[in-house]
Structure formats: structure tokens, C-alpha cells
């Protein structure tokens, strides 16, 4: 311990050890926490069209439009090890051609420090709700769930589904109006 170099070396090694221990502590203290909160989803309007899928495979597919309301209080999910929440509303359903379909309709990033109360009305979907084929028409059961991906400062990246989902049927007929 008698030269600047060896002192600097010890200091550096010690800082690294402390940082590693803190990081591990962050991870271990929040690894098994339950990050679910109740969520309220309400759908006010559903419309169905049948057009060429312009977002990719150019086949005639069902295009759904859903207008929804969301409310949730995400404050309990945040703690010292949460950097942000990636929230997404997904629709899950079964069709004749595919046993399972999941489509993200809307998403939002909530950073630590931002407002954690979600209270959204009359929201339109952010992404086009195209089916792989024509399976939305007369589909009785489309389930909307709000989930979030917890991004920690360090540690596990869990996907958590909020408790509270809503199922809705799609209409039997296509609309040919231009409006949405």
C-alpha cells in the first residue's frame, strides 16, 4: 500500500466489488415480487373491414378497429429496482386457420417518476389489427388484456398480465364505410 498505483488498484477493485454487490442486491430483493395490479378495460366500439393487408403480405385479410377505455393504477408495481414499465394492450383469439393469435393493439412506456395512473378514454389502436386471413368475422371471443414488461435497473425482466381482461365478439358483417 505504498505506491499511488497499488492504492489506485485496490480502490478500483473495491469499487467494482461494491457495485457488483449492490447490483446483485437490487436483483435479489425484487426477484420474487408479485407485480400484478387490477386493471379496468372497457370497449366502446368494434368495427370490422376486409381489405388487402398493406402492412405486409398482400392478401385480403380481416382488419379490426377497436375503441377502448383503460384505467389502472400502476403505483404498486414501481420500486427501487424498476426503471420503466412497457405497457401493452393485446388481443388474443382463435381462428380456424390458427390455434392462437395475439396482436398488440396499443403500447406505452411509463418511466420511473412519470405519472403512474392510467386513465384513458376513447383510445384508438396504435397498430393495425390485421388477422392472418379472415378469422375475425363472427369471431365470438376476442380477449383484450393489459400487460406490462417490467424493466429493472438490474435483474429479471418479467412479463406481467394485469388482472382484469375483457372479451368481446366481432360483428358478422364487414363495413364498407371509409370512416373510423
Amino acid at each position: 500500500m505504498n505506491t499511488v498505483l497499488s492504492r489506485a488498484n485496490s480502490l478500483f477493485a473495491f469499487s467494482l466489488s461494491v457495485m457488483a454487490a449492490l447490483t446483485f442486491g437490487c436483483f435479489v430483493t425484487t426477484a420474487f415480487k408479485d407485480r400484478r395490479v387490477p386493471v379496468d378495460i372497457h370497449v366502446s366500439r368494434v368495427m370490422l373491414k376486409n381489405v388487402d393487408d398493406f402492412t405486409g403480405p398482400r392478401e385480403r385479410s380481416d382488419l379490426g378497429f377497436v375503441t377502448f377505455d383503460l384505467s389502472a393504477d400502476l403505483q404498486p408495481v414501481f420500486d427501487w429496482n424498476v426503471k420503466q414499465l412497457f405497457i401493452y394492450l393485446s388481443a388474443e383469439y382463435t381462428t380456424r386457420s390458427n390455434a392462437l393469435n395475439q396482436v398488440v393493439l396499443w403500447d406505452k412506456i411509463v418511466l420511473r417518476g412519470e405519472s403512474t395512473k392510467l386513465n384513458l378514454r376513447d383510445m384508438k389502436s396504435k397498430y393495425f389489427f390485421f388477422d392472418d386471413g379472415n378469422g375475425l368475422r363472427a369471431n365470438k371471443n376476442i380477449t383484450l388484456t393489459l400487460s406490462w414488461n417490467v424493466v429493472p435497473n438490474a435483474g429479471i425482466l418479467p412479463l406481467v398480465a394485469g388482472s382484469g381482461h375483457v372479451s368481446l365478439p366481432f360483428p358478422d358483417m364487414y363495413e364498407s364505410t371509409k370512416s373510423y
Partner: protein, 171 residues
């Protein structure tokens, strides 16, 4: 006798070095088996997943067959014919009864989905394109890898110093 002692010392150093290298390799291969992924630890290379991940963050991946791909998951995938792995989020999945799945991805920080990144005429990704799903995350640590890639002189300097340290250090 002085010469013999020196040669023994040298053998010892070389064997020691060999042990360290093979232990590291075995740990890496063991991780590959346990996680089911060909690359269980990756460094984030682009800013397309900000503010969640920045360049230099480390991701821990798994790719177990019994874990199905679902929306919202962060997947690391390779596009056919390209080497660089991409870290993005699953936006859409269509899965058949027999387990065949096709899915679409998008980076959080990108305005549009990844169809512009896929091969010409490719609209979906499949299980075979996936390197792994991100399950754990540590910030900043991977910066060293990026520095070594962007500044090759730095990489040679680090390797040289390491080699020097191992040879000169007397246990």
C-alpha cells in the same frame, strides 16, 4: 538447477493459463446447454430499444422449447444471411395447432415494425430465426465489448496487457 526451476515455473504458468481458458469455455458451453440458446449472453448494439436498453447493456437469454413465444417478449433474432443479432419486441403472433409459429417484431424506439429489416419478401419471423428471449438484464457492463469492436487498437492493448500480466505475475 536454476534453469530447471525456471522451466518448471514456465510450464506451471502455461498450464495455469490453459486451466483458466478451458474453465471459461466450459462455463460458456454449460450456459448454452442450460439456457437452450446458442448465445446465452448478448450485448445490446443499437439504440432501437431505448429507453429500456442502451448500447452496451448486457442481456441474459433463454431459448427453451417449452417456453412458447408470446407478444410482449423481447427476442434476440438473426435475419437469414446476416450475422448481427437484433434485440426487439414481439408485436404479433400467429400459431398453428402443431406449434408452428410466425411472428412480427418491432423495436420500442422505432416508429414502424421490422418488416423493412427482414429479407426481401419475408413478412414473418420463425422459431429458427430466434437466438433467445431476454430474461435478465445488467446495465453498462457490455460497453467493453463495444469499445473493443469499435477501436481495435484498444482490443490489442487489452490483450497485450492481459498476456503480460499472466506471464509476469508470480503466484
Amino acid at each position: 538447477m536454476q534453469c530447471c526451476a525456471f522451466v518448471l515455473q514456465l510450464y506451471y504458468q502455461v498450464l495455469n493459463f490453459g486451466m483458466i481458458v478451458s474453465s471459461a469455455l466450459m462455463i460458456w458451453k454449460g450456459l448454452m446447454v442450460v439456457t437452450g440458446s446458442e448465445s446465452p449472453i448478448v450485448v445490446v448494439l443499437s439504440g432501437s430499444m431505448e429507453p429500456a436498453f442502451h448500447r452496451g447493456d448486457l442481456l441474459f437469454l433463454t431459448n427453451r422449447v417449452e417456453d412458447p413465444i408470446r407478444v410482449g417478449e423481447i427476442v434476440v433474432f438473426r435475419i437469414e444471411g446476416r450475422e448481427i443479432p437484433i434485440v426487439h419486441r414481439v408485436l404479433k403472433i400467429h400459431e398453428k395447432e402443431n406449434g408452428d409459429i410466425k411472428f412480427l417484431t418491432k423495436g420500442d424506439n422505432n416508429a414502424v415494425d421490422d418488416r423493412g429489416l427482414y429479407k426481401q419478401g419475408q413478412h414473418w419471423l420463425e422459431k429458427k430465426d430466434v437466438v433467445g428471449r431476454a430474461r435478465g438484464f445488467v446495465p453498462y457492463i457490455g460497453i467493453v465489448t463495444i469499445l473493443m469492436n469499435d477501436y481495435p487498437k484498444f482490443k490489442y492493448a487489452v490483450l497485450f496487457m492481459l498476456g503480460l500480466f499472466v506471464l509476469v505475475h508470480r503466484e
